[in-house]
């Protein structure tokens, strides 16, 4: 169990150089807030989007290093957004971490690109786990 030890900057790789960018596609404001704060503290440039459509547009416009993607969202859900991201030449190289409480992994799995995309269940992941995952993917 990872209790709240003090967060050091061990995970803060590459800060001296160009800031890594992360796009958070999430409709729940409280969760956007927590994730945004955490990644800013880790030295990331954070972009946010509140639904799948905005998220996909932001991914094209911002070309982030990594995307955190929720599934159950209004306007366009995460599965459709994932499909778009992974089929658009401008975005299909961007690693996506599906971060959701949606329990039906098998519905998402077919749209994930093996090796590039990952799946994390929100309720089982601490912020530290998410940061470690993102840093691992980007290292």
């Amino acid at each position: 169990m990872h209790m709240a030890g003090k967060c050091s900057c061990v995970y803060n790789g590459g800060m001296a150089k160009k800031k890594k960018t992360i796009l958070i596609i999430e409709d729940e404001p409280a969760q956007i807030h927590a994730l945004e704060k955490t990644f800013q503290k880790e030295g990331y440039a954070v972009h946010t989007a509140e639904n799948g459509r905005e998220g996909f547009e932001a991914a094209k416009a911002q070309a982030p290093d990594v995307v955190l993607l929720d599934i159950i969202m209004p306007v366009m859900d995460g599965i459709a957004a994932l499909e778009k991201i992974n089929s658009d030449p401008a975005t299909k190289h961007i690693p996506v971490i599906v971060l959701t409480n949606f329990a039906l992994y098998e519905k998402v799995h077919p749209f994930m690109s093996p090796g590039k995309d990952h799946f994390l269940t929100k309720i089982n992941a601490s912020l530290k786990d998410i940061v470690v995952k993102v840093n691992t993917i980007l290292s």
């Binding site: 709240a4 729940e28 409480n101 329990a103 929100k122 309720i123």
Partner: protein
């Protein structure tokens, strides 16, 4: 006039005395009187001797007569002539013989009747078919009376008839035709209408060949009607070439036998009809579809509900083929029948949807008292409502879990941020409180996750992706984190494993879900400073994972409930837990094709066994990458 023996003796004495008296008076005391008296006495004595001899002869006669009666020969009736007493005695014996003869004949007839009736009733009981009754009676006739031909007509309820004739002695065709004519006459007389050729469905003759050389003709005959439930079901005509063969009393017996056989069948038919009615009403009124198939692949029972489910309401008596065709593509009825007949065990089959309803199909072998399987009975139970309730329940849990997971994960993250001092440095007291809240939140998260797991398992939505898995390597990567719980409780943890294990075709995530549950239970239900060991071993075609603790154990009387949903053992009721863990573990194990069981002794500890089959094919014995063979005693991290 006949005199009895006594009378004759008295008469002789009287004549002697009288003659002697007269001579004495006549001659006076003279020698002549003496001569007369002596002469008369001698003559009388001679008479007496003759009577004696005659008596002895009569007695001899009588003795031989009685001897004959004793031998059972009642027919030798030679009236004994002679002296009155003996003649009367002889007459009495004759009367007795006559009576005996009569009684014996009666008894013989009765015994005959009883034997024939017994045979007929036995054979009819075995067949339970009234049309066979005629045949059975006709077949038994030979034991009662001699005949040349017996012709018999079996009349079916629809008016058609079978004609059969059994030729016992070779006769010519005309003889047979004559018998048939007599039979038809009897039919016309009994029915009031003649039998037409169209009514006769089949004619069969068997027995001896026709022989046109024989010039015999029908010289004696009689006909027997057979009535069942008041309806004429048959006529038997017996014919012989011998004249005056059938005595009235013999035919009388046969009438009686036939009548009684008809009555027996009537009673049995009534009884069967009553029972069949009861069964039919019962089968029609139950809510389950029922079909019974015999070992001869015939439908012996199908109730209205079953016909409705299958969609063959229009068929009155559907055949096995009708049922198979109606179920084609939905349920392999023949395959299921064969399976149950072979296994002789109850089998349940996949759910079956007909219209808007869902049915569960269970097939039971039908066994006789001696255990012989005589068929299979299929029960179609409507489980539509249960399914709907189940679906709603699953949906409810799923939605609720989702709705709960979002705020819980937000709380989890914010509490984490607080503890990380992201919102500023916290005094120790506040940190302690927030830590407690964090722990409580984690407990709710576990409960919600468990509920969601159960709902997913029940909805058949559990994700199971088996891949060839090297369990040693996999567990080595997973165990270090799990060991933290043992360290916290100062428990010793030992991991024993062989050098190598074949790869197992399982979903490692699911294996870990089961094992992490067993390990955390072992820690939770073992006191501090206790010992937990985890063993991996190969047993035949399965890898066995064993988790042993020396903890509280499970009370014996509750052991059978351990895998029930929400069950908590009495001795752990005060401890944290949802009662879902073991249920989930067992469900997952089943989904993986494995087996989960345990041995426990209260106060001594518990051992859980998880057996995972090495599925056939692809798996080969693989060298573990780590060559270290000794049992790892991993330090608690």
């Amino acid at each position: 006039m006949k005199l009895s023996l006594t009378q004759q003796a008295l008469l002789l004495c009287a004549v002697t005395l009288l003659t002697s008296g007269i001579a004495l008076v006549w001659f006076g005391n003279d020698a002549r009187a003496l001569v007369v008296a002596v002469t008369v006495s001698v003559a009388m004595a001679a008479f007496g001797v003759r009577i004696l001899f005659s008596t002895i002869r009569s007695l001899n006669n009588l003795r031989s007569r009685v001897d004959e009666i004793a031998k059972g020969n009642y027919d030798v009736i030679t009236p004994v002539r002679g002296i009155g007493e003996i003649e009367r005695l002889s007459e009495a014996f004759n009367v007795m013989a006559f009576r005996l003869k009569h009684h014996e004949r009666n008894l013989t007839h009765k015994a005959y009747q009883a034997a024939v009736l017994k045979e007929i009733s036995e054979r009819i009981t075995a067949s339970l078919d009234e049309s066979e009754a005629v045949e059975i009676i006709a077949g038994s006739l030979g034991k009662v009376v001699p005949y040349s031909i017996v012709s018999y007509l079996t009349i079916r309820p629809n008016g058609t008839a079978f004609l059969k004739c059994h030729i016992e002695e070779s006769v010519n065709k005309a003889f047979s035709e004559e018998t048939k004519r007599i039979l038809f006459c009897a039919f016309a007389a009994l029915k009031g209408s003649a039998l037409t050729d169209e009514q006769i469905e089949k004619t069969i003759c068997f027995g001896a060949f026709f022989d046109e050389e024989t010039k015999s003709s029908v010289r004696s005959h009689f006909s027997l009607p057979v009535y069942v439930n008041g309806a004429l079901t048959g006529i038997i005509t017996v014919a012989s070439a011998t004249p005056n063969l059938y005595k009235e009393d013999e035919v009388g017996i046969l009438y009686a036998v036939t009548e009684q056989a008809g009555a027996t069948i009537s009673k049995m038919k009534d009884l069967i009809a009553e029972e069949s009615n009861k069964t039919h009403s019962m089968l029609s009124s139950i809510n389950e579809g029922l079909i019974m198939v015999t070992t001869k692949q015939k439908i012996s029972i199908i109730n209205e509900k079953a016909k409705a489910i299958i969609g063959i309401m229009h068929r009155d008596r559907p055949s096995l083929l009708d049922v198979i065709q109606a179920l084609y593509g939905k349920f392999d009825f023949r395959g299921a029948t064969d399976r149950v007949l072979a296994s002789k065990r109850t089998e349940s089959f996949q759910e079956f949807t007909a219209g808007a309803s869902v049915y569960k199909i269970i097939a039971n072998p039908v066994k006789e008292k001696d255990g012989d399987v005589i068929g299979v009975v299929f029960v179609f139970s409507d489980i539509t409502k249960e399914k709907e309730v189940d679906r709603m329940k699953t949906e409810f849990i799923s939605i609720t879990s989702h709705q709960l997971r979002t705020p819980l994960s937000s709380m989890k993250w914010f509490l984490e941020m607080l503890l990380n001092n992201d919102a500023g440095e916290m005094p120790e007291k506040q940190r302690g409180i927030v830590n407690d809240v964090y722990t409580s939140n984690e407990r709710i998260i576990t409960l919600v996750n468990d509920l969601l797991d159960v709902s997913r398992i029940e909805a058949g939505k559990m994700q199971n992706e088996p891949t060839p898995t090297n369990l040693i390597e996999f567990l080595k990567s997973m165990l270090p984190e799990a060991q933290q719980q043992f360290k916290k409780r100062n428990q010793v943890f030992e991991f024993h494993r062989p050098d190598t294990l074949p790869r197992v075709m399982v979903d490692p995530k699911l294996v870990w879900q089961v094992l992490s549950n067993l390990l955390s239970n072992a820690s939770k239900y073992t006191p501090e400073n206790g010992k937990i060991s985890f063993d991996l071993s190969l047993h035949n075609d399965a890898v066995l994972c064993t988790v042993t603790d020396n903890g509280f154990g499970i009370p014996e009387f509750q052991q059978h409930r351990i895998f029930e949903k929400f069950f908590r053992a009495d001795n752990t009721a005060k401890m944290e837990g949802t009662g879902l863990g073991m249920h989930i573990a067992q469900q997952i194990t089943e989904a993986m094709g494995g087996r989960l069981w345990f041995e426990s002794s209260e106060g001594k500890g518990t051992t859980f066994y998880l057996s995972l089959p090495i599925s056939n094919g692809a798996q080969k014995q693989e060298k573990s990458v780590q060559a270290r063979g000794e049992n790892d005693i991993l330090p608690a991290l």
